[in-house]
Amino acid sequence: MLEADVELDRREFRLSAAFAVAAGERLALFGPSGAGKTTILEVIAGLQEPGRGTVVLDGRVLTRTAPPRRQVPPWQRRVGLLRQDPALFPHLSVRQNLAYAARTRPGPGTGRDEITRIAERLGIGGLVDDRPARLSGGQAHRVALGRLLASRCDALLLDEPYTGLDASLTRDLTDLVREVVAARQVPSVLVAHELEAAQAFADRMAVLDQGQILQLGSPAEVVAAPAARRVAELVGYRAFVPLPADPGTVAGVHPDRVVPGRQPGRGVVLAGPVRSCRPAGAGWEATIEMVTIETASAETAGVGAGGAGAGGTLVPVRLREAPAGGRDFTFTVLAPPCFRPDGTRVTRAEEVPT
């Protein structure tokens, strides 16, 4: 169990985050660049001292700013940190890299057989006598992971380790880390600024912005029911359409959470001309200029030219088939979350079908 409660003044904002990660659990800290995610990992690893806070790992107090003060140095924490740079020791062979911690932390798990076993399981068994400079990016990351495994760390921190690698390699390595966390039953924290990376890894996700945790929940929950407009923006809601029945309140439209056609029982129905359309993934991404909106609480309202509110709001949607051009396109936004002008969430029964 890893418990962190971190407060730290940064130039632009005050970082303040508290969370706990159970043994074998995978938490993702998701947020834009500069939100303070990496700082949290560095505080847990002991590379930075927080202004105020505590870090407790399996009952061991690693950091405590309140008296009796405690700041365990990084080399006594048994916390593994993977960064984008695998930071292998270039003067040592792969085997020596894997066995690096054996001298400071001898015991089961660091013997020659164990190193061979770890190398084989990570698919680098044939490379143990090579120097790191000969390895590919993916192989180097496998060695870095193996080195942490052999060091028998009690918590695993991942600071966007696989940013910049190709998609299939990222998938393999992420799966590998998930296996490792399950097998070793260590708490793990991934920092990600890409939603997909966070979703692929985590079973719980904390959305961080400007140093604050805005929402903590399962990846599915966070995307389906963002707690605030800022969270919605971060997880991919790209249009916010005004609701005619409640001036100032907007409904969030996620491009993936729409179906073509009019289905008023399932959400909000929008219609308007197609402004652009391009291939995206296996389908299409179209941009619709919203002209009419139909909600359960109000009659169809025109918001186009001359209409009230934000007429001409552009709404991007992703569809399996390209909409026919030249005609108004009608689609239903499934159970859109609604937000007040101040960005807080408001539950409007009529927008959320039971």
Partner: protein, 280 residues
């Protein structure tokens, strides 16, 4: 407009490029050769002006090789002093962990930029017999003028900046992220230094030490003022040249080269190999 360039123009262009490319290639090779030969020129001249007979007669004089011993001993002590005191300074400079880092760097540069003769003059004012330091040394029956100690002090002043600046560059080239991983894997700072920082900086440190050795062996400017005795090889060359002329001084020049060069060359080849292994 079509993106495809017309084939004839392309062929002509690439032929022109090849001609220009090979012409500039030949020119740069020739330039490189000229500067290389020019740099090696003095060594070649030395070898062509020396006969075996000359060398043996010059070196057969009783006590002729004493300066060699003095130079090697003082050089070795100088290296030890640089290693012990210069290495921590270089490491701190590289990591920026000293207060007012620019001031420290300027201090190191100062001894590099001052003409050695001036250093010698200033050293007299600093450690001469009538200075506080000189008096302090007098209490323990030591003197820092015209003694072996003075020779070592002069050599340290002449070679220290070469070592400290070279070592600083060597430490700066070690990626802090690698040291950070070593710490997270359980090594306290002294072990990180022993297992990661020093091995990674070693090729650069060796080169810096080799350059410092060559400087110490050839130190003359400060030495001639503060440590005229005991003779090291550079002073031996100087006095022989003054007293008996060029032909008798040349053999000692060869001795100086033979003593001063192998270590730097060995260090160079070793560090080049170590770097190559790490990169490949």
């Amino acid at each position: 407009m079509s993106w495809a360039a017309s084939p004839p123009a392309q062929v002509a262009g690439s032929a022109l490029r090849r001609t220009v490319g090979s012409a500039s290639g030949v020119a740069s090779l020739a330039g490189a050769l000229v500067i290389w030969v020019a740099l090696l020129g003095p060594v070649i001249t030395l070898l062509t002006h020396l006969s075996w007979h000359q060398i043996t007669t010059a070196l057969a004089v009783p006590g002729a090789l004493d300066p060699l011993l003095v130079s090697v001993e003082s050089g070795a002590i100088t290296l030890a002093v640089l290693l012990l005191l210069g290495t921590p300074l270089a490491w701190k400079l590289a990591r920026g962990s000293l207060p007012f880092p620019r001031v420290w760097e300027a201090g190191v540069l100062c001894s590099l930029l001052l003409p050695p003769l001036v250093i010698g003059l200033l050293l007299i004012f600093m450690v001469g017999p009538f200075t506080p330091i000189g008096e302090l040394l007098g209490h323990v029956h030591l003197s820092a003028t015209n003694t072996f100690l003075a020779l070592v002090i002069a050599e340290v002043y002449e070679s220290a900046p070469y070592y400290v600046l070279g070592a600083q560059a060597a430490f700066a080239a070690v990626d802090p992220a690698i040291e950070e991983q070593a710490a997270l894997l359980g090594d306290r700072p002294s072990r990180v230094a022993r297992r990661v920082t020093l091995p990674l900086a070693a090729p650069g440190l060796a080169m810096a030490l080799a350059v410092a050795w060559a400087r110490a062996m050839g130190a003359f400017g400060a030495v001639v003022i503060i440590a005229y005795h005991p003779y090291g090889i550079p002073l031996q060359i100087w006095t022989t040249l003054q007293e008996t002329g060029l032909p008798t001084a040349l053999p000692f020049a060869l001795v100086l080269l033979v003593v001063a060069l192998p270590l730097p060359l060995a260090a160079y080849f070793w560090s080049a190999r170590a770097r190559g292994r790490r990169r490949a």
